[in-house]
Assembly symmetry: C2
Homo-oligomer: 631 residues x 2
């Protein structure tokens, strides 16, 4: 049988907001074979087109919303889209992945993705109704929160089912970690909400009436049924994620003594039980849900009652229980539910917001920030009232909020006085709740992640139980494999939780035969059934490697070098002071050894720049030429 490549609509929407110009760009099969979709498509477009020196807030920065070949099909756990561009938080290329029906809807409208450039002359939103694309006035909507914005646009276009990705006050006011909200889900990290704000772009609304063609429908649907059964059977996806969701990690991490507490001064939180997944599920569960095409159903709406007033939020997820819980020394679970909701309404990232507040709290307790510099908020650890106030101030850059809205790296520079020691970020991105001291592989993971302090590119999952977390042995190879996996995953674009069922990495699946064949080849099988590309598992790994190298290439052109592949000072200087993981440390020496091993495995030079040979080997010929000019 001659297989044809059918998995894509094969079209990218290009919008120049300055000129009001709207065009279609066709994708050919060759491009798709090299870059797969989503993450791959976007990074290639940016590698080709983006001026490395562009200011993230300038009209010349490009903002990309991308889907992949699986989105809009019945492939399990593929409700995601990816946002890409130069990040106002890290100053490098970064991306952010979110669930949201807009992913499938964009495919139904006939597009794989949207590339936006320029800046609208006044507040605007983009309305895509199948092939009809308009840039519409958002004057009346500007200033509204993310949920109001979605409702108002649905009302305005007269279609209650249009899917709207929107920014809130956070994005409008250029909070460097402003999020994009669609439904109740956030593309939270790296500040793409602020990039939208800088372009006067309040929202993107999408409606599509088509469906996604699948190359081998019968075999695919049969495969889906088999996989759905596997998702149900798997203890992670079938039980823990369904019953508790990511909050299940609170007690796991705290039990190991690797639960970032009070700005990582400690890693054991005496209030963990109060903010645990177990407690959430027992006492706060309001309703459940699931994303498009997902058999897991990890979505939970929790209800809190703070100061006598009830609040519903989809979430908090684990990262928020850390960032606005343990990291600010807060064991008031209801306040975390409220803050989770507030962050989504205001359109700011819960992780960066919480860690930035924790940073300010430590500075305040250390006397580096004075009462009048923090609006007299008594900014001590555990003061959840002050934290709630800070969130509102951040979104509107009011008082101390104007400082907090910059994120910890810039805050440290502005504050001076040695505050930098307390700034918990990598490449400017605040780290999430997975310890680089207690999970020794995460050291290299955070240090070499494209976007910095990210658990999305550097997965901690294996170290919570599958591999030995106390050693660095084998972690360079593991980190690299995970990065290939996440590059492929973000290109398809699928949910990270698939790793529990399909296997942690593609290399892992090739090397281990611990699981049945049908699962080991799941990633490549679904790509082939949907697209008809007939890839091998090895070729899929190569695509992952190509994409990750391309990301690094783009970032080296923006100035990223070995010196950026580092960790927060506290993390490298202070061992975990107490608890089950007492004494564990992430030292400069360990990191350097890991980096040497990692660069060598990757075929990068000692400064962390991909060699021309490596790029050429990956078919990145033009890039191989350019990289020669870098130092």
């Amino acid at each position: 049988m001659e297989l044809t490549y059918k998995g894509y609509a094969g079209k990218i929407l290009r919008i120049n907001l300055s000129r009001g110009k709207i065009t279609d760009q066709e994708i050919d099969n060759e491009f798709a074979r090299l870059f797969l979709g989503g993450n791959g498509f976007g990074i290639k477009i940016l590698a080709d087109e983006l001026d490395p020196d562009v200011d993230p807030y300038s009209p010349e920065n490009k903002l990309i919303f991308m889907t992949g070949p699986l989105n809009g099909t019945r492939a399990p756990a593929t409700p995601k889209y990816i946002v890409q561009g130069k990040s106002p938080l890290t100053g490098f290329y970064a991306d952010s992945v979110s669930s949201g029906e807009i992913s499938a809807e964009l495919k139904f409208a006939g597009y794989d993705g949207i590339v936006i450039e320029g800046k609208a002359s006044r507040p605007s939103y983009i309305y895509i109704d199948n092939g009809d694309v308009e840039i519409r006035d958002a004057g009346d909507i500007w200033g509204r929160d993310t949920f109001e914005t979605q409702e108002m646009i649905k009302e305005e276009v007269g279609d209650a089912d249009v899917q709207v990705a929107a920014i809130g006050p956070g994005g409008e006011n250029l909070v460097r970690y402003a999020s994009v909200i669609q439904g109740y889900r956030a593309a939270g990290r790296c500040g793409f909400g602020a990039v939208m704000g800088s372009k006067n772009l309040k929202a993107i609304a999408v409606r599509g009436d088509d469906s996604v063609e699948v190359a081998m429908p019968e075999e695919f649907y049969e495969w889906v049924d088999t996989m759905v059964a596997e998702f149900k059977k798997n203890p992670g996806t079938g039980k823990v994620l369904f019953e508790m969701g990511t909050p299940a990690i609170v007690n796991v991490a705290n039990g190991l003594g690797v639960f970032g507490t009070r700005n990582w001064k400690e890693e054991e939180f005496e209030g963990a039980e109060d903010i645990s997944g177990e407690r959430l599920a027992k006492e706060k569960l309001y309703s459940r849900g699931s994303c498009f095409s997902c058999p897991i159903g990890c979505v939970k709406v929790f209800k809190g009652v703070y100061k006598g007033k009830a609040v519903l939020s989809e979430g908090p997820e684990y990262e928020t229980l850390y960032s606005l819980g343990s990291c600010i020394g807060n064991n008031n679970l209801d306040s975390i539910i409220l803050m989770d909701r507030l962050c989504d309404e205001l359109g700011i990232d819960t992780v960066s917001a919480g860690v930035s507040i924790a940073f300010a709290m430590e500075c305040f307790e250390e006397g580096i920030l004075k009462d009048d510099e923090v609006d007299n908020l008594k900014l001590q650890f555990g003061n959840e009232e002050a934290a709630i106030e800070c969130l509102r101030k951040i979104a509107y850059r009011d008082g101390i909020g104007d400082l907090l809205a910059e994120g910890t790296a810039r805050m440290a520079r502005k504050i001076g006085k040695g505050a930098e020691k307390f700034a918990i970020n990598v490449k400017g991105l605040e780290i999430p709740g997975h310890s680089p001291r207690g999970l020794q592989g995460m050291m290299l993971g955070y240090a070499t992640s494209t976007r910095g302090g990210s658990h999305h590119d550097s997965r901690p999952t294996t170290e919570y139980g599958v591999v030995d977390r106390t050693t660095t042995d084998g972690k360079a190879h593991l980190t690299m494999s995970i990065q290939h996996m996440t590059a492929v995953g973000d290109s398809l674009v699928l949910c990270r939780f698939t790793e529990r069922v399909y296997g942690f990495t593609l290399e892992w699946n090739m090397e281990h035969d611990a699981q049945p064949e049908v699962l080991r080849t799941a990633y490549v099988d679904m790509v082939n059934l949907v697209t008809g590309m007939n890839l091998s598992l090895k070729e899929l790994v190569k695509i992952g490697e190509r994409i990750y190298n391309l990301e690094r290439y783009v970032n080296t052109r923006m100035g990223m070098r070995r010196s950026h592949d580092t960790l927060p000072r506290r993390i490298m200087e202070e061992p975990i002071p107490d608890g089950p993981s007492k004494g564990m440390v992430a030292s400069k020496e360990k990191l350097n050894k890991l980096l040497d091993e990692y660069y060598s495995l990757r075929g990068w030079d000692e400064n962390g720049i991909p060699t021309p040979e490596k790029l050429k080997e990956l078919g990145l010929i033009k890039e191989a030429e350019v990289v020669k000019t870098l130092e």
Copy 2:
């Protein structure tokens, strides 16, 4: 340990709309021990207070929204509330059960239920914010559809998370089968939306900040975890209902040749595959969801594209695929998705609407209704365009819609000319998609169901595979047991799908040891763990029997007798004409034999009136005295 009764807030809200009077009524333990909650509470209140001769649309009719002891807890699959009163469709006591967060929310607000009487002097809605209850003006909202209404009220009270049960144009215009919509779910059957309309009551909005106290929390939460695993393991709840939901029944029923087609002229539909659950899941699935506290997750949003325009709907469920599909000879799946959505927006029941249209189609094809009597709609079987037009007309009682809005029993009387032969209802309620000819037990089920043509009181589940569907043997006992079970289920108030895991009936569980002990005693265990009542399984059966007898008592006072316990003429006169169940019939003789057996088992007299002895045995002393005066 001295167990105290803790399962209830123990309070019912009483509202008189004529007088604007709002009071609380306390529930004592004795009342709860006799009537359990939900269905039981409501029917006892109506038995005590409702004038049997009341017109359903008069201010004196009482409208009850009730929850039960399990709602608002983590007990699996308990997201339901029950609406009760005298039905404008059947003219007897009836009830309608729906999923909806308003169930839990009402408990959180401190109420077990609401009893509404009187009529507001102008369009109004009830706003319950914990203990604060207001009757508010709904002048601006009147006329809006059910979804708009929910949004407008959320906006008006400034609380996006308030839960609103609303009526649409259907209820306002007194369509006799108007529904109540909360979220996307309908209390569809028996016309309580019209009762709301008759009271000038547009909506009820509820917000509660408390939680539900559980008598034995530790044991209860452990039990819940065990049960959630059982729901996941069970092929019905863990797989079929999750993957396809109720639409899975289409191919099952059609495969047996018991799928009501073209107004039950036939029971095999050549277009079944086109409107099957398999096709919906493969081609139309948009997103999934689950109700409050439910591990099944049968909720599905489907996307259809009708005449080039996309439409999303939560549903259609199986009954709608029958009523607006096979029953009107329509195999256009996208049109059914559109009509499902339309019915919810307009606030009309999909089953009664579809069967009423089917009835009109047959009358038109038979020449009983002429072109000018059906607004020149070419009302033939299979004309889905005409059906869509009819739905709008029904909600506004426009042209032919004014006739259709009356339901098949009244339509037949108005049309005359022998049309009654084609009116497919029992006690005025149009029957759903479960054949009383092909499932011989359903004969008695429909005939003796409190509300008439109902699959909610008379469960067809066992006959689709567990017991022999071709015989009437043992069906009197089975029907009675199911009625006890559903009375208990509607009192707790839980989802019917629990029957797949916990067992079909309470008697079944006592008599059969086919399943593990933990499942056989599930119903009574969860009641005891939540309420501390320490009931036995036998006592729970007795409560079911008490409630069912009380329903019959109320209805006999409204005039219900043996002559009402009957089936549609076609069903009793024509055998299934073709297909796998060809020749099966539900004759008058069979039904009479079944009724004799059933009345005798029940302790009712030959005219279907509960005997004073039976009522006394059930502790219904006052009722036993009254029933003596009936004939």
